[in-house]
Amino acid sequence: MRVTVLLFARLRDIAGASELARDVAPDATIGTLWRQLAGEYPALVQYEHSMSSAVNADYARMDRALCDGDEVAFLPPVSGG
């Protein structure tokens, strides 16, 4: 199945894209997708324990199962205000 990945701030700089399309296995979780991306872009690994994730514009945990067409966002530590 296919999902859309959104990357923000420095994660976007590391990948060189704000949006990616990726094929994942039917039983994939956010964590599976993250490890797949970290394999492609090793500099992402440093964010493993500090980033947050969201599915379809709602915060979600790494063990959340993905569905075809999901929009998955990876968010480095925030700095609004």
């Binding site: 701030a9 915060y59 966002a73 480095p76 530590p77 925030v78 609004g80 205000g81």
Partner: protein
């Protein structure tokens, strides 16, 4: 001549005093917003005003772009956000405020895009029958924005630029929420 016809006669190039007044009066400002427009505290104060006479206080906060940070001379900031989630996060914060301070009405606007030194990046207004709750809700709101809103600032300074990274955003983190409440009520 009606206000409508007056506006139409001026065309798209600008507003007459009449049309600007009409627009400000008629447009309802959403209490929660994120976007590229300049922030105007008056709009937020209007958004939280009940007009019923029961309020004793409106506390406002304006966050500004500062010209220095960690010894660096800052030239300007660029704010980025995951806008749909940011707006939902603002709704969540407003819900937390309602839960903790039931009498408070809240407005929260955040600006994104390029902001120059001295410009406002975030504006908050909290109205309440009593000042104590209005102060606490206003402070709580900015602390929670910094903790959980998916917004990032990129600092452009003399000699380079850097993404600022603060808190790991986790709305379910009860410790972070308790800390925001502690600061708000100190």
């Amino acid at each position: 001549m009606s206000a409508f016809r007056r506006t139409a006669a001026i065309g798209a190039s600008g507003f007459s005093r009449t049309s600007r007044t009409r627009i400000l009066k008629d447009v309802t400002v959403p209490p929660l917003a994120i976007g590229r427009s300049r922030l105007d505290l008056n709009h937020l104060v209007a958004a939280v005003s009940s007009g019923a006479g029961g309020d004793g206080a409106v506390v406002t906060f304006l966050g500004l772009v500062r010209d220095h940070n960690l010894g660096r001379q800052v030239r300007y900031l660029e704010y980025d956000a995951y806008e749909p989630l940011a707006l939902k996060t603002f709704e969540r914060i407003a819900g937390e405020v309602r839960e903790r301070w039931p009498g408070v009405r809240l407005a929260l606007h955040h600006r994104i895009g390029r902001l120059e030194i001295g410009e406002a990046s975030v504006a908050i207004a909290a109205a309440s029958p009593h000042r104590r709750d209005a102060y606490a809700a206003c402070r709580y709101t900015i602390e929670r924005v910094k903790q959980i809103a998916p917004i990032w600032k990129r600092e452009f300074f003399d000699g380079g630029d850097v993404w600022i990274e603060g808190a790991t955003a986790d709305p379910e983190n009860a410790l972070a929420r308790a800390e925001a409440e502690r600061v708000a009520c100190a």
